[in-house]
Amino acid sequence: MHEFTYVAPSSVEEIVQFLAQHREKARPFCGGTDILVQMRSGVRRPSYLLDVKTAPETRLFEFDPAKGLRIGAAVPCADVSADPAVRRYYPGLAEAANLIGSVQIRNRASLGGNLANASPAADTVPALIALGAKAVLRSVQGQREVPVEGFVTAPGRTILNADEVITEFVIPPPQRGGADAYLRFVPRNEMDIAVAGVGVFVKMEGQRCVEARIVLGAVGPTQIVASEAMAYLRGRTLNEGVVSHAAELAAQAASPIDDVRGTREFRRHLVAVLTRRSLLAAAKRAQANQS
């Protein structure tokens, strides 16, 4: 690995001061599960590696039924998926966080790192978008909250400025009759990268869907919000035929590539299957949340 300086800041203020001074030369990191591999292979060569997790603000974990969920950018995925409030109110996020890598990886990898790494196959990103999550970004200029939707602009590229760091995620409060789900397809049950992934959120009134969000992963250069499928579902009774049609619309929204993990056709097929299954899973949960 190339030579670099390791910096362990004790606050977010220290992180943003450092970033303001060193900009592109400095790279914030949390668990290192992506960046150290990239540095070892020479893909990234930062002069400074900024250890975000040493700033206590990035380890925050707060749930309030009225305000929602705040998760520090550096909280390990293992803690996200094990958290009782996440499992109860945001089970799709728990599912996504529990699918990344192995126990070893989940003990280190963070939501902030998963988003900043900007892989098309990132598991937590579709789940966060489906929930309407926002990322809190800090720089010396101040703070801004941006939707996770649209954060990733291309593989490995995001809207994050060189002087900014992701400090936390803000997830809207659970809604009566609302629930999420995340499913992916991998040839191996554990320790694999998604061939396709689908995160959904639905809000139900009885059998009727009043709101749906469907987000596709690993089937395009960035996560894809399947707007047509979402619009189609609004106001409809979620029966087998309606769900299957929405799944077909979602499959049409995908723009997958052929690679070692799967062909374009196979991925499109997977999107339909995963959309159908995740919608049914979320709808079932949502109906249980109505009382």
Partner: protein, 162 residues
């Protein structure tokens, strides 16, 4: 590159070492501290051969920087046995012939310990998920899974009967 002084706790003992920021915890363990029980496999976090406990949690030491060990509690395979007495897990790996070439074994022992530290009554499925980040090219995994289940059983009995 200037070396950094790091104070850590290794297998229960306070340890201080010097390392470059670019050296992984794995390199520090093997090349600086001469603890070669932890093995180097893929260096990408896929194989688990370099697994250690970091503040009680299993991690790939190839994806941790040595400097990150500052103030942390590190446990390696060298810390499993009590003097000349093997830990239950180590003994069960031998009894069940859960190793052949042995390169993956320290990582499996550490990952299995991480599981049993929190769950002394795991199902076979839980054992397999807990060990999914560790690759073995010799055994076909069955013997490893049986060794871990049997170790858990003995540890449960020990806990129940003292």
């Amino acid at each position: 590159m200037r070396k950094v002084a790091v104070q850590t706790t290794l297998n229960g003992e306070p340890v201080e070492f010097l390392c470059e920021p670019r050296q992984s915890l794995l390199e520090v363990l093997r090349d600086v501290l001469n603890l070669t029980g932890t093995k180097e496999g893929c260096l990408t976090g896929d194989c688990g051969a370099c697994s250690v406990l970091f503040d009680g949690r299993v991690v790939c030491s190839c994806l941790v920087l040595g400097v990150e060990a500052q103030g942390a509690q590190i446990q390696t395979v060298e810390g499993l046995a009590h003097g000349n007495e093997l830990s239950v897990l180590q003994r069960k790996f031998l009894e069940h012939a859960a190793l052949q070439c042995g390169i993956c074994t320290p990582g499996f022992l550490i990952a299995a310990k991480a599981l049993l530290d929190h769950n002394l009554n795991p199902s076979e499925s839980e054992v397999r998920y807990a060990l999914a980040g560790n690759l073995c090219r010799c055994t076909g995994y069955d013997k490893i899974v049986r060794a871990v289940m049997d170790a858990a059983k003995e540890m449960r009995e020990r806990e129940a009967y003292g």
